[in-house]
Amino acid sequence: MSDAIAAHAGAHAAHTAHAVHHPDLQHHFDSLEQQHEAATLGMWLFLITEVLFFGGLFLAYTLYRIWYPVAWAEASRELDIVLGAFNTAVLIGSSLTMAFAVRAAQTGKQRATVVWILLTMALGLVFLIVKYFEYKEKFEHHHVPGPNFAFEGPQAGPAQIYFSLYFLMTGLHATHMIIGFVIMAVIAWMAHKKRFTPEWYTPVEISGLYWHFVDIVWIFLFPLLYLVDRAGHFA
C-alpha cells in the first residue's frame, strides 16, 4: 500500500490518464490493471496478518473469560456502555463515509472524495477523543494495571488481567486508528491535488480496506469488552 502511495507521490500529476503509458504505472508492471490487483491483494494479505495479530489477544481473552467469568462481569461493568455504543456508531458511520469516498473516487468526483475523506477523519477524531476520556477515567479510578492498580473485592487479580487486555486491545486499536488518520490525511491531500481518476484510484481503495478493517476490530471489541455480563448473570 505504502508502495503505491509513495510511487504515486514520486510520479508527476496525472491530468491526461492513459491506460498504456499512465504516469502512475510502475516500470515492473505490465498494466495498471496488474498493478491495481497486486496492490489490493497486498493489502488484503496485510489485513490477514492483522487478524492474526489481534488473534493472539483474542485467545488470551477467551481463556481468561472462561476461567474468570465473575471477574470479567465485574470489571466489564466499570466501562461506560453509553460511550462504547456511541463510539461503535461513530466508527460504523466513518466506514460509511469511507465507502462513499471510494465510490466518489471510482466515479471521478474529486471534490466529493476529499469531502468524504475529511468526514471520515472527523469521525475518527471523535472516536479517539471519546476514547481519551474513557482512558482518563480509568486512570483516575486506578484501573490501569500495574503497581497502582486498585479494584474492590476478591476479583482484583483476574480483574487486573481483564484491564490488561482492555488496554492492550483498545490501545492497539487506537494506534491503528491514529495510523489510519495519518493515511487518510495523505489520501485527502492527494485527492485535493486531483491525483485520482476512475482509471487509477488504488490508494483510496486500499486505504479504505484498512479503515474498514479497523472498524471490524472494534465491532468485535465492543461486545467483548463492554457487554460481558450486563444482564447480571454472574454477579
Binding site: 491483494l41 496478518t49 492474526l52 495479530f53 489481534f54 493472539g56 492492550l168
Partner: protein, 536 residues
Amino acid sequence: MTVPAPRETYLNHEHTVASWLLTKDHKRIGIMYLVVVTMAFFLGGLFASMIRLELATPAGDLVSADTYNKMFTMHGVAMVFFVLIPAVPAILGNFVLPLMLGAKDVAFPKLNLLSWYVFVIGFLFTIYAMVTGGVDTGWTFYTPYSSRASNTNVMMTGLGVFITGFSSILTGLNFMVTIHRMRAPGLTWFRLPLFVWSLYSTALVMVLGTPVIAITVLALAIERFLHFGIFDPVIGGDPVLFQHMFWFYSHPAVYIMILPPMGAISEVIATFSRKSIFGYSFVAFSSLAIAVFGFLVWAHHLFVAGISVYSALVFSFLTYAVAIPSAVKTFNWAATMYRGAIWLKAPMIWAIAFLGLFLVGGLTGLFTAALGVDVHIHDTYFVVAHFHFIMVGGAIMGYFAGLHYWWPKITGKMYSDIWAKVAAVIVFVGFNLTFGPQFLLGYLGMPRRYHVYPPEFQVLNVLSSAGASILAVGYILVAIYLVASIFYGEEAGDNPWHATGLEWTTQSPPLPHNFEVQPVVTEEAYEYSKREIKVV
C-alpha cells in the same frame, strides 16, 4: 581488435553507496541481506564456539554462569531470527524469485527495501541489547522468568524480535503477491520451479504466523515494562499461555527455516540429475501441506509443560501427520536421482550432505513426537541435537547448496569446485561429530542450558566440542573461497550448470531489469530430456 565494452549488469550500472542503500532492485536487496545475515551468522557462531568451549569441561571454568546463559540466549536469538528465518527467503528468494518468474522485480520493490531496513533496525536493537549487558532468558523468553525474574535486556531484545517480525511479514506478503501476479506468460502454477512453491508456502507461514509472535512479544514487553499482567501467575494468569502463543509462531517458524532450503534442494537435485523432479506435484503440494499442518502441532513443545493429557494426544497425533509430507519429499529426491545423469559438482555434494543430515533430523523428530519418550528427552540434549540437525544440517546446508548453485548467477564468477567439495565434506563430518554425541547425551539425561554438568557426561561433550571446531573450519573455508571467487574467480557464464529455469536464460550477473525481452514459458519445469541445452 577492440576490447568489448563490459556488459551492463545490476552490479555495475551504478556504483555509489546511495545506489545500494536506496536501491529497489530485488537483486541488490538480496545481496544486502546476504551481508547482514552473514554478519549475524558469524556472531551467532562466535557465541556457539564459546558455549562449546565452556562445555569441554564439566566445571564452569571458562565463563560465569550468567555469561554462559547470555551466550546461549544470544546464540539462539541471532541464529533463529537473524540467520535461519531470513537466510534462504530473503537472500536467495529475493534474488532468484523474480528471475524464476520472468518478472522485472517483486510486486512491491519499495516495500522490499523497507523490509530490509526494518530487518536491520531490528538487528541493531538486538545488537544494542547484546552489547549493553545481553539477555539471559533463552531465545524462547518463557514467562514468568522473562517478565519478572530476569534483570537483563529482555525489553530491547524483545523489541528487536518484534521489529524484525515485520520484515518477515512484509517479505512474505511481497512474495505471495509476486507469485500470484507477476508470473511470465505461460508460466502456470504447475510449471513453476519447486523453489517457488516452497517460497509461496513459506510466505504463507510468514504472513499467518509472524503476527502472533509479534503480539506475544509485545504483550511480554508491556507486562515487563508497565507491569500489566497477562501471563502473571500471581494475579491468576497462566504462564503456559505464553508458551502456546509463542509456539503458535515458533513452531511454524521451523518451516519458514526449512521449506525454502527444501525448495533449493529440489532445484539442485533436478539440475544435477538432469531429470524432472520425481513426483513434481507431490513435492509441490507437500510444501503447502507442511505449511498448513505446521500450524496444527505447536503444543508438542509443551508435553511436559502442564498441558492436558488429551491435548497432548491430539498434538502428538498431528505431529506425526506433518512428518509424512517431509518424508515424501525425501523419498522423491532420492527417486529423482534414479537413472539420472548425475553430475557431481559442488552444489550437488552440498545437497547430498543436506539429504544425509536432514534425514537424521527428520527421523529423530519421531522420538520427540512420541509422548512416552518425549517426557524423558524433553529439554535435554536430545532435543538440542534434533533441532540442530534440522536447522543447521537441514536449513543451513540447504542454504549453502542453494548459494553454491546460484553464486555464479549472483556474482558472475565461479568459485573453486574442489574447495567447495572439501568444505562440504568437512562441514558434514564436523556437524555429525558435533551433534551426533548430543543424541546420546540427551537420552542419558543431560538437560539443556546447563553451564556445569556431571562429570560422567564429559567424554561425549568433548567429542561434541571437537566436532564444533571442525565445523567452524568448514564454515570459514566457505567464506574464504566464496569471497576469493569474487576477485579471482573465472567468469562463470550465463548457464554454467546447463540448467533449465528462467533465471539461467538471462546473463550472469543479470541485467538491472533482469531480461532483455519478456520471457514466455512453453513447457514444464526441469524438462531436461526434451530440451536442447544451450552450451556455453
